[in-house]
Every structure is written in structure tokens, then in C-alpha cells.
């Protein structure tokens, strides 16, 4: 099961290798800058636009329904089927989607980190039990769990958040476990234990700081995946419920008017693309920075292949 882990095998960052790397002036490749610009543009729009006086995501102007972008000066990105300002809805949807996603990722990483550290540091039966639990969760497709629960208690945004928070921690737990497993026998962890420090103190002082760096890297590259996931659920009606907008929900509302007003689904689609692609470009830098070995290997293998 573990053979095809999507998560790159992140080795614990020994302080010795990290410092000289940081001292060098880092050369930031163009792709990463483009990624950061895409990301910042969406975040700025989502959180900046609501500060402007034009922000009004709920008022309906039925006479202006389905105005195309650029036609009405008051509604630069057009209006939806109820005449609500599309730019405002898009910005609010951004705040809603990003808020939900960040909340889920934070809960997942903290939960996964705690479970992984306990599992890796204590080992033994607890380790077997927790990792068994993780395997069970991996075998269950999140969407089917959500469909089953939504059929029973009714779909709601809290249900979606709850299901994702409860099931999506496995990746974090695995990395946290492998890192703390590797640290457990190291001298700087063993020494305070021998001097009488409690297990809890040792974990907090020596394991948590090392693991949390990895968790942060994982979290950044995970945000894109969670955006795609929650947007899909919103699109299916299993997440955010109208009249509150979210990117996925806006696309689903726009789908009904795909012939008359294609911009209603295209605009939120572009926004999702910008964030996810931007995050992908930015997080590639993180993962390659944290795992130095990955930087060298592709090039050498390619050269070998080319010679043949």
C-alpha cells in the first residue's frame, strides 16, 4: 500500500544542511514568480474587492439579469441570472472557498501531525492501531462517505468540512510518523530522556519543531488539492449551499446558463485554475528546497538515458 504514496518522501531537515542553503542568495526561477503572481492576484481580489463600495453580492437587479461583462459600468464582470453583481459574488466566493479550505488544511495538518508523532514516537501497538486506521481511511473514497452521510442527515457545508477534517489527515500522519520514527533514536532526542526529561517535553522541544516544517510544506502543496475537492463537492451540491457563493457553486449555477451566459461558469473556473496552478508552481519550489536529493537525480538519470 505504501509503495505508491503521492507524498514525496520528506527526509527530516537536519539543521546542518538547511543553514548553508539559506545563506546563499536563492535564485528564484521565473515559473515560481508567475505562480506567486497568480496566487496573490486571486487572494488580493477575494479579500480586497469587498473593501470597495461596489461590493454587493446579494442585492438582486432583475432588470439587469445576465448582463455580459464590460457592458454595464457598475457591473464590470456582468451579472448573474438574478442580476447580482458577478464580481462581488466571485470575491465573496473566494473568501468562502479559501476560508473553508484553509480551515480544513489546518485541522488536517494538526490532527495528522499529532497522530503521526504519537504513532512514530511511541511505536508498538499504538502505532499498528493508528496506521491501520489510516489504511482504512485511504481505502474509503471521501466522496462516497460524504454522499452516504449527506443522504442520511442532509447536505451542508459543515458536514463537508467535518468529513474532510476527519478523513484527510492520513498523508500528514504518515509523514509525521516517518519523521519522528527517524528522530526517536537520535542523540539529541535520547539525551534529555536519559537526564530525566518527560516524553511530552522531549516531543514538544525536539520532535514537534522538526515535524512542523514538513507539515507546513505538505500543507502548502495540499491546499490546491483540497480546493479542487471542496469545489467539486460544492458543484455537486454537497458542500456550500446557496445563496452563499463558492467557486464550485458559482460554476454549477452558471452551468444552467452555459448557452446564454458562458462567462458565469468560465470566470470562477479561471479563478480556480489560477489558484491551483499558482500553488502548484510555488509549492514545487518548497518541495525541491526541502529534499535536496530530488534536485540532482532527474538530470543525471536523463543524461544516462540520452547516451544510450
Amino acid at each position: 500500500m505504501t509503495a505508491i504514496d503521492q507524498i514525496p518522501d520528506l527526509a527530516p531537515t537536519a539543521a546542518g544542511t538547511a543553514i548553508p542553503r539559506a545563506r546563499r542568495m536563492p535564485r528564484i526561477p521565473a515559473l515560481q514568480i508567475i505562480g506567486a503572481v497568480m496566487l496573490v492576484a486571486v487572494v488580493l481580489f477575494s479579500f480586497g474587492y469587498p473593501l470597495l463600495p461596489a461590493f454587493d453580492p446579494y442585492t438582486q437587479h432583475l432588470s439587469l439579469a445576465l448582463t455580459a461583462p464590460g457592458v454595464d459600468a457598475h457591473h464590470l464582470l456582468g451579472t448573474d441570472s438574478l442580476g447580482r453583481d458577478e464580481a462581488s459574488r466571485l470575491a465573496l466566493a473566494g473568501r468562502v472557498t479559501l476560508g473553508i479550505v484553509v480551515a480544513i488544511v489546518v485541522v488536517n495538518s494538526l490532527l495528522g501531525m499529532s497522530i503521526g508523532i504519537v504513532s512514530g514516537y511511541l511505536g508498538g501497538k499504538i502505532d499498528n492501531l493508528l496506521m491501520g486506521l489510516a489504511d482504512v481511511q485511504l481505502a474509503m473514497p471521501v466522496i462516497l462517505v460524504l454522499i452516504a452521510l449527506a443522504a442520511a442527515v442532509g447536505p451542508s457545508v459543515w458536514l463537508m468540512i467535518g468529513v474532510l477534517a476527519a478523513t484527510y489527515w492520513v498523508g500528514y500522519a504518515r509523514v509525521a510518523r516517518s519523521v519522528s520514527l527517524g528522530l526517536r533514536e537520535r542523540d539529541f532526542v535520547l539525551a534529555p530522556r536519559i537526564q530525566g526529561a518527560s516524553g511530552f517535553w522531549t516531543v514538544r522541544r525536539h520532535i514537534v519543531p522538526n515535524v512542523s516544517v514538513q507539515m507546513l510544506i505538505l500543507a502548502v502543496s495540499d491546499i490546491g488539492a483540497v480546493i479542487l475537492l471542496t469545489s467539486s463537492f460544492d458543484f455537486l451540491g454537497l458542500g456550500v449551499q446557496a445563496p452563499m457563493p463558492s467557486w464550485g457553486l458559482l460554476i454549477s449555477e452558471g452551468q444552467k446558463y452555459v448557452r446564454q451566459a458562458p462567462y458565469l461558469s468560465i470566470l470562477p473556473g479561471i479563478v480556480i485554475f489560477l489558484v491551483v496552478a499558482g500553488l502548484h508552481l510555488v509549492s514545487q519550489r518548497f518541495t525541491s528546497e526541502s529534499t535536496p536529493s530530488r534536485k540532482r537525480s532527474p538530470r543525471t538519470t536523463q543524461k544516462k538515458g540520452a547516451r544510450r
Binding site: 481505502a139 452516504a148 452521510l149 458543484f235 485554475f273 502548484h280 544510450r308
Partner: protein
């Protein structure tokens, strides 16, 4: 072999039992399903009557035993909404459409990835690899439901050459299958490319080259069978996520499959249909993983089924 088969059978039954139990527990979470099925201001007597008809007035453990007993007789419970219709027959009616779409989409995706991987390996072109990976990464940043919608915009709305909704003959399968195939493409292309590169530095590959075999022959005859092993493993493991993606694609294109049925059952609170759907999905999961194991044993002589 018999020992292997009996062990797999026990595992399969345990999985089904776990799914059935979890689904049952979920179904009773809401407390009084009858109240949800009726209109908001339904009189109390009506709720009580419906509770009685559906057996919700019995103690929970008895409901569970009744349900398990029913399963043994092939009774998967009746739909709440279509009275008298077995929920399982509703699901099975939709199963072929889902299987068709899933099979066409996955096969197309893997074939596409294989062709790309082989061409890259045969030409040794770095630019081609970068292009394929780039296209794959761009596709990965577009959610399936939006990609499907873009296809509809281009091929149905603008060009008017493909039907946008439902299942109206062979052309209907093109866009949903394309959505699935392009989504799967990057996963398998990366995998095939990596394992082909890895295999090409193995001793047996060098030996074949030393024999004077052409590059074409070595890559296709020697490397590809070995590179295909991880593809099967990943296909088996990622089946869960794949079925989840199928639910989404079916709903974008109103494809009359299981996923669409289960989602509409969510909206109408028809829990037995969802329950039967979950059992069928679990069954698919078991069959697919069994098939992967068998294929493994067929392709790789080192693997013995025990």
C-alpha cells in the same frame, strides 16, 4: 490456489460486512428518517404510520438484524421514494452505463499515457517530456467538472457537433470519457515514464542492446511489460478516487449512471438507494483488486498467488 481463493473470499465478505454496517449506522444517524421524508408540517400520526411501515419503531439492534437477514435473502431494502421498488434493482439498472463510461475513460487515459511514455522513450526527447508533463499539470489544475463544462462549451455550444447531455448513442460517451481520460493521463504518464527510465538502466536492457536489438524492440518487447506492473498496482489502489471522479463526471454530463442516481438519492433523501449503491461500489472494489492480483500473476512469473 484454493487457499488463496478462500482467503480472498473471507476478506471480501469482511469488507462487504464492514461497508454494510457503516452504511446502516449512517442511515440511522438522523434519528427519525420518516420525518425527513414527509412534508415539514405533516401530522404526527402520519409520521408514526410511516415509521411503522418502514420499521423505524423497532429497537435499533432489531432493525440491524432484520436488515442483515434481508441481505442474506437478496433483499436490499425498498426505495423510500419509489414504493415497492427494490433499491438494488434501481442501482443495478444504472450499473452498465457507469461501467461503460469508467472503462472507456480509464482505458483511453492509460493508452494515451502509454503512447506518450513510449514516444518519449523511443525518441529520447526531453522537450517532448516537458511538454507532456506541462500539459498534464495544466489539466490537473482544472477541476473535472469545469473541464467537462469547457468541452460542452466548445463542442456542443460553439461547434454543435457533440450532444451535451445524457446518453444518446455512441457520440455521447466521447466528452465524459475524454474528461476522465485526460484527468487520469498525467498520473499514468508520469508513472510509465519513470518506470521506463528506471528499467532502461537495468542489466537486462543493456544485455538486449548488446545483443544488437533495436531500440524499438527493446523498449516495446523488454521494458514495457516490466513498466506496466506499477501501472496495474496504481490502477487498483486509485480505484476509489477514480469512482469518486466518475460521480462528478456523470453529473456534469447527466450521464445515466450510478453516480447520478446516488446523488439524486441524496437530494430526495432516499437512503436505501445510497446504501445499495455503496454495497455495489464495495463489490466493484473487491472484483477490481482481485483482477489486478490475477493480472500480476499472469504478467510477472515471480508472483505466486498464495
Amino acid at each position: 490456489m484454493t487457499r488463496y481463493l478462500s482467503r480472498r473470499l473471507v476478506q471480501a465478505l469482511a469488507t462487504i460486512f464492514a461497508v454494510v454496517t457503516v452504511a446502516f449506522a449512517f442511515g440511522r444517524l438522523s434519528g427519525s428518517p420518516a420525518a425527513l421524508l414527509l412534508t415539514e408540517n405533516a401530522p404526527k400520526s402520519q409520521i408514526v404510520a410511516l415509521n411503522h411501515r418502514l420499521g423505524f419503531d423497532k429497537p435499533l439492534w432489531l432493525q440491524y438484524v432484520d436488515y442483515l437477514g434481508g441481505l442474506l435473502h437478496g433483499d436490499f431494502g425498498q426505495s423510500y421514494r419509489q414504493v415497492g421498488v427494490s433499491s438494488m434493482s434501481l442501482v443495478l439498472e444504472r450499473l452498465p452505463a457507469s461501467l461503460l463510461l469508467g472503462a472507456v475513460g480509464l482505458t483511453a487515459g492509460i493508452l494515451l499515457a502509454m503512447v506518450a511514455g513510449l514516444v518519449i522513450q523511443l525518441t529520447g526527447s526531453r522537450g517532448l517530456r516537458t511538454t507532456a508533463l506541462g500539459i498534464g499539470a495544466v489539466r490537473q489544475a482544472i477541476p473535472d467538472f469545469f473541464f467537462g463544462l469547457l468541452l460542452v462549451l466548445i463542442f456542443s455550444v460553439t461547434l454543435g457537433i457533440l450532444p451535451s447531455l445524457g446518453n444518446r448513442g455512441i457520440t455521447s460517451v466521447i466528452m465524459p470519457a475524454l474528461t476522465i481520460a485526460t484527468g487520469q493521463f498525467i498520473l499514468y504518464m508520469r508513472l510509465i515514464d519513470n518506470s521506463l527510465t528506471e528499467q532502461s538502466s537495468m542489466d537486462y536492457a543493456r544485455t538486449a542492446y548488446a545483443r544488437g536489438d533495436s531500440r524499438f524492440r527493446v523498449v516495446l518487447g523488454e521494458l514495457l511489460p516490466n513498466a506496466f506492473l506499477p501501472v496495474m498496482t496504481v490502477a487498483g489502489i486509485s480505484l476509489g478516487g477514480f469512482l469518486g471522479g466518475l460521480v462528478i463526471v456523470e453529473n456534469v454530463f447527466a450521464w445515466p449512471g450510478m453516480g447520478q442516481l446516488m446523488l439524486s438519492a441524496v437530494y430526495s433523501r432516499d437512503f436505501p438507494v445510497v446504501q445499495s449503491g455503496l454495497i455495489v461500489v464495495a463489490g466493484l472494489f473487491i472484483v477490481a483488486n482481485f483482477a489486478v492480483d490475477l493480472c500480476y500473476a499472469l504478467i510477472d512469473p515471480r508472483v505466486r498467488l498464495r
